[in-house]
Subunit: 328 residues, 2 copies
Amino acid sequence: MHVLIIGAAGMVGRKLTQRLVLEGELNGTPISALTLVDVVKPDAPAEFFGRIVTRECDFSAPGEADALIGSRPDVIFHLAAIVSGEAELDFDKGYGINLDGTRYLFDAIRVANQNEGYFPRVVFTSSIAVVGAPLPFPIPDDYHLTPLTSYGTQKAMSELLLADYSRRGFFDGIGIRLPTVCIRPGKPNKAASGFFSSILREPLVGQEAALPVPDDVRHWHTSPRSAVGFLLHATGLDLSKLGWRRSLAMPGVSATVGEQIEALRRVAGEDAVKLIRREPDEMIMKMVAGWAAGFEAKRATELGFTSEKNFEEIIQVHIQDELDAKTT
Amino acid sequence: MHVLIIGAAGMVGRKLTQRLVLEGELNGTPISALTLVDVVKPDAPAEFFGRIVTRECDFSAPGEADALIGSRPDVIFHLAAIVSGEAELDFDKGYGINLDGTRYLFDAIRVANQNEGYFPRVVFTSSIAVVGAPLPFPIPDDYHLTPLTSYGTQKAMSELLLADYSRRGFFDGIGIRLPTVCIRPGKPNKAASGFFSSILREPLVGQEAALPVPDDVRHWHTSPRSAVGFLLHATGLDLSKLGWRRSLAMPGVSATVGEQIEALRRVAGEDAVKLIRREPDEMIMKMVAGWAAGFEAKRATELGFTSEKNFEEIIQVHIQDELDAKTT
């Protein structure tokens, strides 16, 4: 089996690569080849025994997609994206990568399908940003697409393309609407959602973190481990069960910031909690007010997708995968 | 006021043109110029006293949109589309006109907005084909986008673009999800939905018509007169009331084929009804099974959009606008 990961240098892409290399197989079939692509050349994992290709690619350039699928991968993980904040600031770049790049990829597959019957599994990472306020809580699976960012618009448009190209038989596609991934490992970044991770990640290692919103802000989370689990689970499903509604809200943990902090207190004690500094930020508060507080995720749950059940589990996953892993 | 109609040679485009020429004004402002565009050159209405330009245009060609908005129309009606059946048969043509053409238009406006503050009202005709089975009845305004055709996919993607470009302040856009327009004047055409019109239109003038589906098939209709009314009403609304949810299901008449036939009986008698020949067609039955039976259309109704209340009214509108008009 040949697996292509587009967006392999990102956080989820790296963790997905690690997991595939560790397991060495996908749904019982050995992985013989791995192609890792991103805007910067991804690192090649040393432990992989199959054929490996890593390459740098401008996903928004016409023709690049033909090269990406040149060796006809059986499974394609499409994780490439300009993130929310950047897509809002750079209109052309956002539409170029998130919409045009996706369409170039899908069209390259379509042509190969029509010419030679190529028919890969395509796993596309969408986002909860396809919906925006005012929103019910929890949000049902059949709630309409109401993005409030260009990023969310591009993800929603890509979901529609994915469904239409699947319906027409060009490939077998599934869209995974990822919750906010928490706790993101690494340094704090400038994403507006970054504080959801940093208020836990920094105190766990004795460092301060700023909290820009009130404790009653509720949001929808899953761990990096579960995010990778969703993507892997998506490769083994019989997608005919989905009909042509090919994008699914994933299960996750709906929690307020206050509940996150209580979980931190239970896991790491009062001293950790004291490292959270309250620094209200009007701009972030306003953005977060438009975000989803939680989803029913009935369809995904019925199909066997699973996430953590509460924030203590999410914190434990971080400790196991990031902190213990580094000290051993 | 300068009005541009893209898709002016189609049935709704011609009726919209007639109405604008007849009224000579839009929301109290005289119409000084009218630009009519289509893939074939639209007829110039003789009765119009302002400046009139008619032109042929390949809407899917890059650069054409710049020419279309060259004289900076205040109101743009975007009615151009490859219809459902053709978009399903000719993949490239459907995406070329319905998606790329729409994006070229919106981008041309965006550039003019950024360069010189151009800010037109854009009224876009979407379709009930943005949803597909399985569907609730009636379909609520917040039901998700589940197209089952490439045409519906292209309309749904265009709705998302319209909302994002409006949110970013490039233009003031509104999407009108038209019900099936009934009774379509003119000759029978090959659209799968054509029988909804022909089973009334032909018997009203003493001709036979074929009915390919059972009497209990329920669908969602409005008259050509109401369809034009929606488009005109959309030009005068304060769109800030819509938030960023810029596309609206329009009100209409939910009726079974049997109810259509009963209305025909009441208006034109038993002899007219006898002209309907039952000719079951499996392919049409299968297609129609995926279509919407009716919408709540709460938001549109609250905003003052109105349609007929029953099929007798729809038939009377046809008699007034098409049959009486031709005999006088």
